[in-house]
Amino acid sequence: MADLAAVEETFKRIQSHKGVIGVVIINSDGIPIRTTFDNDLTVQYAALVSQFTVKARSAVKNLDPEDELKFVRIRSKKHEIMIAPEFERQREYYLIVVQDPSTD
């Protein structure tokens, strides 16, 4: 078990990295448990990203049932949405980071 303070610290550090627009953690019920976005955007990300991730995971699982989705990067014109999902029961969550990679 990693140090809890380190987790919090890593979270804050990611948030402060260049181009990072926001970080959201959604639990298995789709409830954002940690977010740096405002309410509306958080809800939007929570809804859309969890849907997308479940779809992506089903694609992976259909290709190889023993496989598991670990990371998704969505590169858009403006942003890069990175999702690190965890599907294991009892600790399901989605970690979402939105970054603008073009900022210099």
Partner: protein, 1105 residues
């Protein structure tokens, strides 16, 4: 009326109830004609009329059968004597003909022994049977229902009562089934016959009678649904005509004999009610939305609660939690308050257990949510306790709040917990992956350059490598960006300005090929480049001034040609300034061993030869990609770096505590105590070589500080004193290409890390040498900050700082050795197979042989050391005794160094600073010592040196064998020089010096045989190519004002990593440094030999001259 479905009726009989509901009733129709036909078949003709048959389209006999078997009046009268009481006559008959029959015999009860007459099918052939039985069955069922033998009034059903004449019944039954095709109503006739013939007696009463009741299907004979049509339509007129015709018919009926009225029974079928029982399915919804203010509020409350004392919460917080919970309860689905309560209660669940139990007491739903949340966080024991407490609180809440309070008291012991989300299992790993992804996004262009996938940026667009806080450098970079890469060596301090820009320009001249203008780096045609090429092409040795004079207009014109006129002026000015310094430079700072003119000549010769050798090679350069640094390592000087042997993306860096902070701490400590006690504490550290080490440290720092040794020297001395006091710590960080922003792992060490290396054979094993002499071995896979094994004073720990460790893989059948060297003079080899065991390879003795030529300089160096030591002693306020001791040590050192033949008073040993094992023979190694000697040793002999190389007059900080020539090696020293040696020759082949700065590390470039890199205490990174120039480095980079302590070339990338005293690992892309990719190693070797021969000949010539 529109025709329904049913037989086509040719007789004059009509429906009793037109427009009946289909299936809604059982209807029987009877007309006089029908009655007559049936009676005529079975008995005598009542009216003498011929029977009418109804034939439908299929030819099936559809003649309606009478529902009631009409018996003749005589028979009825006969039977009447028996059943008279139970026969009730229907009195509604208005027909004279039927009056008698109906009133007397219309209802006769029939007792059937068996239901043989019951038809089952809807076959048209069996139509008659079906006609018959429903009435009987209906009556029988009604009889069974009420058990009373009262007659059924008002119905037109006939009831035939059979006696116990089973024979007749049976035959009647069989007859009825067999005689169906004939179209006769056998049951009726049989019943009539039996009723007429058989008389019941008393015996019949005692006999058992079986009655079988069966239901039958419903028969629809005529069905006319009601029709509503518009009056003005075509159909409307037809319907109206039909209606009027019917009305006329009805009106005519009363006056006509052709019509007779009879009633018939219509049964309304029982509606069945089926009861279904099911439990009500209850559903509940729970949702949560956290808005920013909710989180903020919750956090604020959390912080407040953690700040508060735990005991106070019990009373004060309980009501608020309850209020929140009940608010949810009454609000039902109001989302905002619900989310608020959810957030709050879940937060308080962690921070303040009393709240949660209060909420649980008032609202179960909230409790469930909370316990769910608690479970989801995977909190091992507290969640159990939380739910328990919740249950308890809930149970006792109706009575009193003492239960909740007790539960709260149960949990009050649990301190403030961290955020629940941080407890998500695996989140740490996910965050690490995420940070790596973010970092790779940020550094994607740099990573592509690191991997040599993308060519380095053209110099004009390169980020400024000069110091941003240096106004002169900034001016230069804005005025002539074309020469920016070459002007990177602008001084960090204005005091050194006179020498270092010229170095840059000279180097540019040296490396500049003839045809730069045609090179892809067209923007290099700035002032500096123009000056360089002009100067380089000019073969005459008319002096730097004339060269500068010739170059200045060229620079101006070049700049003017390339730039708009507005920005030209500062560029040309800067170029002129640089060139004027160039003219001054050679007379100032040429090495004393070489004549000024000769060196200048030789430099030009080497330049021309390099041009010949390398053709139109574009200029070399360095480009800063990124700096591995983070808040943890900020300000901590990097002391050593090592690549992982298996994962080339991984580099380990060792740090020591910030000397400034340590010095501040030491000063604070000294201020707090009387000087005597501070001194005694420092001297009571008890290590024998403490004073000597402090001198060495102060000397190193003092020399590194260079010109202004005043305040810096004092602080350095304070830092040295802090180190002596042993208040330093260290850190090891593992940096990866995957994450430039944070190390993938880091841990602290008790003492400052001075050396580290990854094992070759087990790449996860990291050997670390620290300042207190400890050798520790870590397994980086375990991620444990404690070493697997570490040497102690009992197990052969070095007495002094370990300056280098290196794993030595001696082949598969022999164990891997960890070799360490320390200033206590010992070179030790450690094995880790059975614990950390060591053997001393050699104890470095102070050599008696000393080259006399170096004597003067070395005594001067010792003088510097003594001065520094004195400064250190004065700065920390050592008491007189300690100062005297230090002075004595200095004197002894000086005596030992300068006296030569005699042994030192205090120590016969000399401190080891570095070593390197030969790549061809793993027994042979070089050891560089503090007093400037380099010894070639063998692991086979622990008492003597194979060879000794003298020349350095400062400590030899680094040594390395050439990767291309097995007998060639480089050394760098605190005497500002880098020297190249050859096995078998006790004097150096070549010496390189670019500045008055200690050279702290040197390493061969793995991709170019004639190239090596060095870092200096002044913070400069130099790349030398002695195939091109032996006087100036081809590239320099002055990154920071802090010292650069180590450098490493990457094995598989055109990259060099330099470690800075400021706590960063600077990663540089080498631009045009590596040899051609297709150049075979043999060619590299011959190139090296040629360059060596040429330069050694030149050096010999100049030395002779």
């Amino acid at each position: 009326m529109p025709a329904g479905h049913g037989p086509r009726v040719t007789g004059g009989w009509g429906p009793n109830r037109p427009g009946g509901v289909p299936g809604g009733s059982r209807r029987s129709y009877r007309s006089s004609n029908v009655r007559r036909s049936t009676s005529s078949r079975t008995h005598d003709m009542v009216d003498g009329l011929a029977p009418i048959k109804l034939i439908d389209e299929q030819g099936v006999n559809r003649t309606p059968k009478p529902l009631v078997a009409i018996v003749t009046s005589a028979a009825l009268r006969q039977a009447r004597g028996i059943v008279t009481e139970e026969s009730v006559a229907g009195s509604d008959a208005g027909d004279g003909l039927f009056g008698e029959g109906r009133s007397s015999a219309g209802f006769s009860r029939g007792w059937f022994d068996s239901g043989t007459a019951t038809p089952q099918e809807a076959d048209p052939q069996e139509y008659q049977g079906r006609m018959m039985v429903p009435s009987n069955a209906a009556i029988a069922s009604s009889l069974a229902a009420d058990r009373s033998l009262t007659a059924i009034g008002g119905s037109s059903m006939g009831v035939s009562m059979f006696s116990s004449n089973r024979q007749s019944n049976d035959t009647a039954g069989s007859q009825s089934s067999s005689a169906r095709p004939t179209g006769t109503p056998p049951a009726a006739s049989a019943a009539a016959t039996a009723a007429a013939a058989v008389f019941l007696n008393e015996d019949d009463l005692s006999k058992p009678h079986k009655v079988l009741l069966q239901d039958s299907g419903t028969v629809f004979m005529w069905e006319v649904p009601g029709v509503v049509v518009a009056a003005d339509s075509a159909e409307g007129s037809q319907v109206a005509a039909a209606n009027s015709q019917y009305a006329a018919q009805l009106a005519a009926r009363d006056a006509s004999d052709k019509f007779t009225a009879s009633s018939c029974q219509t049964l309304v079928p029982l509606r069945k009610h089926r009861e279904v029982q099911s439990g009500t399915s209850s559903s509940s919804d729970a949702g949560c939305q956290a808005s920013r203010w909710d989180i903020d509020d919750s956090y604020a409350a959390l912080e407040r609660s953690s700040a508060d004392d735990g005991e106070e919460q019990l009373g004060s917080v309980l009501p608020s939690g309850a209020v929140v919970a009940t608010g949810v309860h009454s609000n039902g689905y109001h989302s905002s308050s619900q989310q608020a309560s959810f957030m709050r209660s879940s937060q308080q669940n962690w921070g303040r257990p009393s709240n949660m139990s209060a909420a649980a007491g008032s609202n179960r739903r909230t409790t469930n949510l909370d316990s769910c949340v608690a479970g989801a966080w995977g909190r091992p024991s507290s969640s159990m306790r939380g739910s328990q407490a919740g249950n308890r609180g809930e149970a006792s809440y109706s009575g009193s709040t003492t239960g909740a309070a007790a539960a709260a008291a149960l949990l009050a012991a649990a301190g403030p917990q961290p955020e629940p989300w941080t407890r998500l299992a695996g989140l740490a790993e996910a965050l690490a992956v995420m940070e790596a992804a973010v970092s790779q996004n940020i550094f994607l262009p740099q990573l592509l350059q690191y991997r040599d996938i993308k060519p380095p940026l053209p110099p004009s667009s390169q980020p400024s490598a000069v110091l941003p806080d240096d106004p002169l450098a900034a001016g230069a970079s804005t005025s002539s960006t074309g020469s920016q890469q070459l002007a990177v060596a602008l001084p960090p301090t204005p005091g050194m300005m006179s020498s270092r820009p010229s170095v840059a320009l000279l180097s540019s001249r040296g490396a500049a090929a003839d045809a730069w203008a045609s090179s892809p780096h067209g923007s290099f045609g700035g002032a500096g480049t123009a000056a360089g090429s002009t100067a380089g092409v000019t073969p005459s040795l008319g002096g730097g001034a004339s060269a500068a004079g010739a170059a200045t207009p060229g620079a101006a014109s070049a700049a003017g040609g390339l730039r708009p006129a507005g920005s030209m002026t500062p560029g040309s000015l800067a170029g002129a300034a640089g060139l004027s310094q160039l003219s001054r430079r050679p007379s100032q700072q040429l090495p004393a061993a070489e004549g000024a003119g000769g060196s200048r000549q030789s430099s030009f010769v080497s330049m021309s030869s390099s041009r010949l050798m390398r053709g139109s090679r574009p200029p070399a350069g360095l480009q800063l990609l990124w700096t591995w640094s983070c808040s943890l390592t900020e300000g901590m000087p990097v002391t050593s770096i090592a690549w992982n042997s298996a994962n080339t993306n991984l580099i380990a860096a060792g740090y020591r505590a910030n000397p400034a902070a340590a010095a501040a701490a030491a000063e604070a400590e000294a201020a707090g105590r009387p000087p005597g006690s501070a001194g005694s504490s420092s001297s009571s550290a008890g290590r024998p070589a403490t004073a000597a080490r402090s001198i060495r440290e102060s000397m190193k720092i003092g020399v590194g500080a260079g010109e202004d040794a005043g305040a810096a020297g004092a602080s350095a001395a304070a830092a040295a004193a802090a180190e002596v006091a042993g208040i330093t710590g260290g850190r090891v960080a593992l940096w990866s290409l995957k994450n430039q922003l944070h190390p993938i792992w880091t841990f602290e060490t008790k003492s400052a890390v001075t050396a580290l290396d990854f094992s070759q054979r087990n790449p996860h094993i990291l050997g670390v040498g620290t300042h207190d002499g400890t050798i520790a071995v870590y397994d980086v896979r375990l991620r444990q900050p404690t070493p697997l094994m570490a040497s102690t004073a009992d197990t052969g720990k070095h007495a002094d700082p370990v300056w280098k460790v290196r794993w030595l893989d001696r082949g598969p059948e022999r164990e891997e050795l960890l070799v360490s060297i320390s200033t206590d003079g010992k070179v030790k080899a450690w094995t880790i197979a059975k614990g950390l065991e060591h053997s001393t390879l050699i104890t470095l003795k102070r050599t008696s042989k000393r080259l006399t030529s170096a004597g003067g300089s070395s005594s001067a160096a010792a003088g510097v050391a003594a001065a520094a030591a004195g400064a250190a002693a004065a700065a920390v306020g050592l008491p007189a005794g300690s100062g005297a001791k230090a002075a004595a040590t200095v004197a002894a050192l000086r005596h030992g160094v300068a006296g030569g033949d005699r042994d030192a008073l205090i120590s016969r040993n000399t401190g080891g600073m570095s070593f390197d094992f030969s790549s061809t023979d793993s027994r042979i190694y070089l050891a560089g010592t503090e007093d400037g000697h380099i010894h070639k040793c063998s692991t086979s002999y622990s008492e003597q040196y194979l060879e000794s190389y003298s020349g350095h007059i400062g400590p030899v900080y680094a040594l390395q064998w050439s990767p291309f020539a097995p007998n060639l090696f480089l050394s760098c020293s605190g005497d500002w020089t880098i020297r190249m040696w050859q096995e078998g020759r006790q004097q150096q082949l070549l010496s390189f010096q670019s500045s008055n700065e200690e050279v702290l590390d040197v390493q061969w470039c793995p991709s170019n045989s004639t190239c090596f890199g060095a870092v200096t205490a002044g913070g400069r990174l130099e790349l030398w190519d002695f195939g091109a120039n032996t006087l100036r480095p081809v590239v320099q980079h002055a990154s920071t004002k802090c010292a650069m302590t180590a450098l490493l070339f990457a094995k598989d990338a055109p990259v060099v990593v330099a470690a800075s005293d400021a706590g960063g690992l600077l990663v540089f892309r080498l631009v045009n440094v590596a040899a051609d990719r297709f150049e075979p190693p043999e060619l590299q070797q011959t190139r090296l030999e040629e360059a060596l021969r040429a330069n050694v000949m030149k050096a010999a010539l100049s030395g002779a001259g």
